[in-house]
Symmetry: C2
Subunit: 187 residues, 2 copies
């Protein structure tokens, strides 16, 4: 396994096969999240694995509601990007993927959001390493997740990661970023 | 190379050898940062590589000033953590490491902070893959970096990554996080 190939081959996935797999693989992937560094070693996050179908459906309905509002108020460039990517507002991936993982960060910890997203990146690569596809999907409002899953209010859900096997691997993205690297000053 | 070994072996490093290496390795590491997914594919960040010694010294002095203030006002648990880790307030790593990389995120882009930290995680793993050590160091105030490096104010510097060879590899950390994984609800 070449690290750079793993990074390049990983793609965000919105279409999943309804194919089950053992929860132990999800746990292995999430364990990799705790290998990431975090502010003052606080690991300011929890992971909630969801496989209950009625719960997944409640989450999907809530996401559809909050995101339709958000989409309608979005700038044109964002709407065009969504349409260009053929991203449906129905969020079927929240039902089709056998597992959802909610990652919630503890807002009372230093650098909680930064640390949580370092951990999420490790999880993305671990998933690819296990042949599992996912997506970093954040609904435009998240307080309904606290209520549904009884998450204390000091924790903010920052992402829903559906885990499953993708229907069709999206093609590789354009990875050039030479225009983003500068020397000793900006530009 | 095993991905999980790479993740576990990577350690935050604060003591660097004054040993030079080619800038091309830094560029290769930063390129890996652009392989990470980002909100609406916007890649909302820039990387500024610094090898100019007088500039590194100016950065170090500013960091020492802002962080001494911050440390004095910090809660006891944080002071004790700093002392326990033998973390000096003099920040010699900002001089000793041959390269510093400032990562700045574009605050006008959606999910800019989240996307930037996904990219930073990819960079941490790429550095370990190249045998280069680093640290995610964020000074408690960052506006002096915008001034010094002429970075537009819509970009916020979110981290300084020193790149170099570590004096002594810190021992492995405790990686257990079983108490962080829940099923279908919190706890």
């Amino acid at each position: 396994m070449n690290l750079y190939d793993l990074m390049k081959n990983r793609r965000s996935t919105r279409e999943f096969l309804k194919k089950e797999f053992p929860v132990e693989i999800v746990q292995k992937i999430l364990n990799a999240g705790s290998y990431a560094p975090s502010g003052a070693d606080q690991k300011p996050y929890v992971f909630i694995i969801i496989d209950d179908l009625s719960l997944k459906e409640k989450i999907r309905k809530n996401c559809v509601n909050v995101d339709k509002d958000f989409f309608n108020k979005s700038p044109d460039w964002f709407k065009n990007w969504m349409v260009g990517k053929k991203i449906s507002l129905e969020k079927d991936f929240l039902i089709d993927a056998p597992f959802l993982v909610i990652v919630a960060g503890d807002k009372d910890k230093p650098y909680w959001l930064e640390s949580t997203w370092l951990s999420i990146a490790y999880i993305l690569l671990a998933a690819e390493n296990e042949g599992v596809s996912t997506l970093t999907y954040t609904p435009s409002k998240v307080d309904f997740i606290n209520k549904l899953l009884k998450i204390p209010l000091n924790f903010e859900p920052v992402v829903i990661l559906p885990f499953g096997f993708c229907k069709e691997k999206p093609r590789k993205k354009n990875l050039i970023n030479k225009d983003k690297i500068f020397f000793n000053k900006y530009q």
